[in-house]
């Protein structure tokens, strides 16, 4: 069962890390947009 849990945990870790990466890029994009509007 250890390997089964490890495989499921690894799968969700990879997806969550990728989702967080996308969200951080969205946040960065929003900040850049706001800076551009200020200029």
């Amino acid at each position: 069962m250890k390997f089964l849990y490890l495989a499921y945990a690894a799968t969700w870790t990879i997806h969550v890390v990728y989702l967080l990466y996308l969200l951080s890029r969205y946040r960065h994009l929003r900040e850049e947009r706001q800076e551009l509007e200020k200029e």
């Binding site: 495989a7 499921y8 990728y18 969205y26 994009l29 200029e39």
Partner: protein, 246 residues
């Protein structure tokens, strides 16, 4: 975020939860491998979805070379990136299943090696797009994607034409192959759940790519505005093209 996107995310979450329940609690325990065989319900759908995403990247790349469409380029990028994520799951769950069943983490057989090569091809594609600058980056990336896709049928057929440590196909493998119907149901629920997750991620990445392109164009036009006012070199249209390779 639009209401439709939130609704789609909730449906995806519900599908994945039910698929997890099917794979862990409803599907029967496999006779020889035991519970560790349940890794199959994550491993196989991720491989199929990765193939589908690389096929999408292949079609979008062809379309980009024909039409030079910004949207097809963004779709090619999004599908390749999410495809690499799904292929990474295949390459991680495979060894975690192999260790207790085969006694080894990895072997250089045709299926495993061609899958690793596939992952490396699309990682190279993403590296090319991220770090190579210049007007031809997208064209080069599209060409790489088209040639890179040749590896997908090689991965799929490798267990049919070569003797491999990886098991022969249980689905569409001919006489003696097949799955218990309850296992099939778990496979299909997981396939539906992860396919929905892939669509959600591709949509997010596609919108991000388009928004980044728009921002770069806004930056470029802002930088060129004073020069245009002075009648400077901004008249050169090539200067207006931002690097959209990301």
């Amino acid at each position: 975020m639009k209401r439709s996107s939130i609704l789609f995310a909730l449906v995806t979450l519900a599908l994945l939860s039910y698929a997890f329940y099917q794979g862990m609690f409803v599907a029967p325990t496999e006779a020889t491998m035991g519970d560790v065989q349940r890794i199959f319900y994550y491993h196989l759908p991720h491989a199929w979805v990765a193939f589908l995403l690389f096929f999408t990247n292949f079609l979008a790349s062809i379309w980009y070379l024909i039409r030079r469409s910004e949207r097809s380029d963004a779709l090619a990028l999004a599908s390749a990136e999410v495809g690499v994520v799904f292929c990474s799951v295949v390459l991680v769950t495979g060894p975690l299943w192999a260790r207790p069943v085969w006694g080894i983490w990895w072997t250089w057989d045709a299926r495993l090696t061609s899958t690793l090569v596939l992952w490396l091809i699309y990682v190279s594609y993403l590296v090319l797009r991220r770090f190579v600058t210049g007007g031809q980056t997208q064209v080069l990336a599209a060409a790489l994607a088209i040639f890179g896709f040749i590896d997908v049928p090689i991965v799929y057929l490798s267990i049919r034409y070569f003797r491999t440590q990886h098991p022969q196909p249980v689905i569409g493998g001919g006489e003696g192959s097949g799955l218990d119907p309850r296992m099939w149901i778990a496979v299909l629920w997981n396939l539906a759940g992860f396919l929905a997750l892939a669509v959600l991620l591709v949509r997010l990445r596609y919108s991000l790519a388009l928004a980044e392109n728009a921002l770069e164009e806004a930056h470029a036009s802002r930088a060129l505005a004073p020069q245009q006012a002075e009648g400077g070199p901004a008249a050169d249209p090539a200067l207006k093209l931002g690097d959209k390779s990301r």
